[in-house]
Symmetry: C2
Subunit: 433 residues, 2 copies
C-alpha cells in the first residue's frame, strides 16, 4: 500500500484534534483511503506539552514542513490572514497539496490561492473551513452536482447560536455573552463571532461553491446580534417565529444576495430547532428541493474530522494525478459566472418591525398608511395595552416580502414621525419558500 505523507502546521485546537484522530484511527482511515496516511512532520510556534507526538519530528518553524521534500500534503492550521497566505502560497510553489481549515484565508484570498494551485497542478481543500465537522462543502460541490442551487441559508457560527438560544429564556445579550466567554464558547474579543464576520467568511465560501461565482467577501452584508433583545425574541415567538443569526445567499438572475443578519425563521421549520453551539446549513436545489446538513461547527476532533476527510480525498488525487478533480468552487474556472453581489437595497425579505409609538389616537393609522404608501403589506400586527409605559407603547409588525429599499424608505418616515420615539427596530424574516 502506498504511503502519503502529511505535514501539519499549527498545533492549536484543530491541529491537536487532527493529529490525535489521524493517529488513533490510522488503520481505519487507510482502509477507507486505499493508502497509508502518515504524519511525517509537525510544526507550531508553541509546543504542546499536553500532547504525545510519538516519533513525529516537531519544529517551531512552520517552513520546516513546507520545505520538507518528503511531505506530500501541507495542512495549514495556523489561522489568520497574512502568515497563512504566505505559508499556503509557498507550499503551492513547492508542489505540495494543501488542506486548510482557514475560512478567513479562503474567503478573502481564495481566488488568488486557487489560481496559483491550478497553475501548479496541486489541490487546495477547505472543507473544515465551513461548518466544522459537517461535510457541507462536499454536499454542495458533489452531492448536489445535478442542481441549480437557488439559495443557501445557514446557522454557521456556534457562538452566536448559543447566545440566541440562551436568550430565549429572557436573558440579556451581555449576560449570556459573558457566560459563553466563561465556558470557552466565545473569545475574549467576541467581535468576529457576534458581529457575523466569521459567518460571512463561511457564507462567502458556500455561495461561491454553490453558485459557481468568484469569492467576493468584501461585498457581503453583515449585521451582528448584539442589539437583539429578549423582548424581540419573545415577540417573534408570539408571531410563530424564532430569531436565528443566519447567513443567507441567494442566486438571482441579476446578482447574488450575500448577507448575514439576525433573521426570523418559522418555528415549524427544522432549522429553527437547531440550538446551542450546533450548526446547520440548508441548501435549496432545483432538482432535490431543500436538504439540510447538521452537526458540530467547531471543536478539536469535529473540525479535525473534516480536515482528515479532505486529506483522504487529496491522498486519492495524489495517487491518480488526475486533471478531472472536483473544481475548487464546484465549477470549472471557465464555467464560472461573473455575477456581482447585490446591494442590500436590492434584496428581498419579510420584516419584523418594532415601533415605539405615543399612545395617541390615529397613530396606528399613520403607521399603516406610511407602509401602504411604500407598497408594504402587513402580515401581522401586535399591540398590547398592558405594555403602555410613559405614554408610549410598542407596535410590532410583520410584513410580507418586499424590497429592502422599500422598508428603508418607510423606516425613515416612521422614525421622522412625531408620534414615534425616532427609532424603529428592524429584523429580517425568511419563510424559505
Amino acid at each position: 500500500m502506498k504511503d502519503v505523507s502529511v505535514g501539519i502546521c499549527g498545533l492549536g485546537t484543530v491541529g491537536g484534534g487532527t493529529f490525535n484522530v489521524l493517529t488513533r484511527n490510522a488503520r481505519l482511515i487507510a482502509g477507507r483511503a486505499g493508502c497509508n496516511i502518515r504524519i511525517t512532520r509537525v510544526a507550531s510556534r508553541r509546543a504542546r506539552e499536553d500532547m504525545d507526538l510519538g516519533d513525529v519530528p516537531f519544529s517551531t518553524d512552520i517552513y520546516d514542513v513546507v520545505n520538507d521534500p518528503d511531505v506530500d500534503i501541507v495542512v495549514e492550521l495556523i489561522g489568520g490572514y497574512d502568515a497563512a497566505k504566505e505559508l499556503v502560497l509557498a507550499a503551492i510553489r513547492n508542489g505540495k497539496h494543501v488542506v486548510t481549515a482557514n475560512k478567513a484565508l479562503i474567503a478573502v484570498h481564495g481566488n488568488e490561492i486557487f489560481e496559483a494551485a491550478e497553475k501548479a497542478g496541486v489541490v487546495v481543500a477547505y472543507e473544515a473551513g465551513v461548518a466544522g465537522g459537517i461535510p457541507v462543502i462536499k454536499a454542495v460541490r458533489e452531492g448536489m452536482a445535478a442542481n441549480r442551487i437557488d439559495w443557501i441559508a445557514g446557522i454557521i457560527n456556534g457562538t452566536g447560536n448559543y447566545i440566541l438560544t440562551e436568550m430565549r429564556a429572557g436573558r440579556e445579550f451581555s449576560e449570556v455573552l459573558k457566560e459563553a466567554q466563561d465556558l470557552g464558547y466565545a473569545e475574549a474579543d467576541p467581535t468576529f463571532d457576534v458581529e457575523g464576520i466569521d459567518a460571512a467568511h463561511k457564507l462567502t465560501i458556500l455561495a461561491s461553491a454553490g453558485f459557481g461565482v468568484p469569492l467576493q467577501f468584501e461585498k457581503g452584508f453583515t449585521e451582528g446580534i448584539s442589539k437583539i433583545t429578549p423582548y424581540d425574541i419573545a415577540h417573534a415567538e408570539l408571531l410563530g417565529y424564532r430569531i436565528k443569526h443566519l447567513g443567507i445567499a441567494r442566486r438571482r438572475d441579476d446578482g447574488i444576495e450575500l448577507r448575514v443578519h439576525p433573521t426570523l425563521v418559522p418555528q415549524s421549520h427544522l432549522i429553527a430547532q437547531v440550538d446551542g453551539v450546533l450548526n446547520a446549513v440548508l441548501v435549496d436545489g432545483d432538482a432535490v428541493g431543500q436538504t439540510m446538513y447538521y452537526g458540530p461547527g467547531a471543536g478539536d476532533e469535529a473540525t479535525g474530522s473534516a480536515v482528515i476527510a479532505d486529506i483522504v480525498d487529496v491522498a486519492r488525487a495524489v495517487a491518480t494525478e488526475s486533471k478531472l478533480r472536483v473544481p475548487y468552487l464546484g465549477f470549472s474556472p471557465d464555467a464560472m459566472e461573473d455575477l456581482d453581489v447585490l446591494s442590500m437595497e436590492d434584496i428581498q425579505s419579510a420584516y419584523y418591525l418594532r415601533i415605539t409609538a405615543l399612545d395617541r389616537p390615529g397613530v396606528l393609522a399613520k403607521i399603516a398608511s406610511i407602509l401602504s404608501e411604500h407598497g408594504i403589506n402587513i402580515e401581522s400586527i401586535m399591540q398590547k395595552e398592558s405594555e403602555l409605559k410613559d405614554g408610549r407603547i410598542p407596535v410590532i409588525i410583520l410584513t410580507h416580502t418586499v424590497q429592502e429599499r422599500q422598508i428603508n424608505r418607510a423606516i425613515e418616515e416612521l422614525e421622522a414621525l412625531s408620534d414615534t420615539d425616532g427609532h424603529v427596530v428592524r429584523i429580517r424574516a425568511e419563510n424559505f419558500n
Copy 2:
C-alpha cells in the same frame, strides 16, 4: 471538453426525473463535472407519452443500452431484484460503469455485484438507493472518512414517517394509510414501506458503508408500524418522546445491531422534528460526534439529483482510470471486517411497555417485582384512574436501557400473569447517548 455517454434503463418516476434534470441542467452539470455528460440512449419497457426525449434514441429493450458500445455509464432504474441483477451484471461484463437507485438490488445482491465490478475494473454507484436526494452515502463514505462510525439511525422511509406524523392528530393507522394511498405516497400493496422492508434495505447499505462490513440484509430485524396506535403515540408524547419508524445500526465489538422498528425518540432531539414524507439520517462518529442529513427521500427529480451526482463522480473516474476510487462500502475489500449481525436478543435498548392490568390491589407491585427480578429499572410509570374500563386499566412503563433478552423474559411473565389481559405492547426507545 471530453464527452461521457450515459444510457438510461427504465423511464418510471426516477428515470423520468433523471432524464429531465440531466437535460435541463446539462451546461451547469458540465461546468461541475469538467466533461459533457450526454444521454445517448434510453430504454424502457413502456414508452412515456408525456415525455419529450428530443433526439435521444428510445428502445423498449433495455439490453439495447447495455450492448451499445458507445455507452460509458449504464443507469439502472428498472427496480426489482432479478431482472435488475441480470442487467447490472451484463453491463459490468460489457465493461460499463453502473449507476443505480435500486436499494433492494444492492442490499441483497451487492456483495456479488461489487465483486464483479472490482474484477472488471468498473464502478457501481448507488447514492440514490438510500434516502433519495440526500447525499448520505457520500457523507458516510467520504465526509466521515476520519471516523470510527459508532451508530447510524435514520428515518429512511417517507411513507411510514408520513403515516406516523398524521397519527399524532389521533387518527388510526388504517385511516391514514388509505389517505397516503390516495395521495400517491403509499403503494396499493404497502407492505414494503409499512413493514419496514424498504427501510431495512437502506439500513443494510448504510451500515455496511459506515462500518466496513459485508452487506447482510437477511440477518437484519424488521418490525413495521401497523400495530402502532394513537393511544401509544399520545402516551409516548406525555413521556416526552415521539414515535418514529427508525432504522438503527450500531457497531459493537461483538457484532452489528441491524434493526428497523418503531422507536421512541426524545422530542427535544432534532430527528423527532422530521415530519411528513421527509427523511433524515443521524450518523455518530468518534471524532465528529452526531451529524444529521435531511431532505426528500423520494420523488422524481430529488432521486434523480442523487443519480446524477453519482454519474458526475463516475464520469470523473472514467476519465482518470484511477485505481484509487472511493471503495464501494467505504473500505477497501481487504480492510473490511467480517462482523456478524447480532440477534435481537443481544441488542440493548430502553423500552416503552403498555400492560393492560386488572384494577386489583397489588397488581402494580407484581409488575414492578417481575421487572426488578429481570434487572430492569423503571424510568417512568403512568397509570390514570380515569382510564379504567371494564375493570381494566393501562399501566405504561418506560424502562432504562437493558438487553432485549431481559425484556423478552419479563414480558413472557407479565403476559402469563392472571392480573393482565395477556398482551403487553412493547416499543423500543432510544436516547442517542
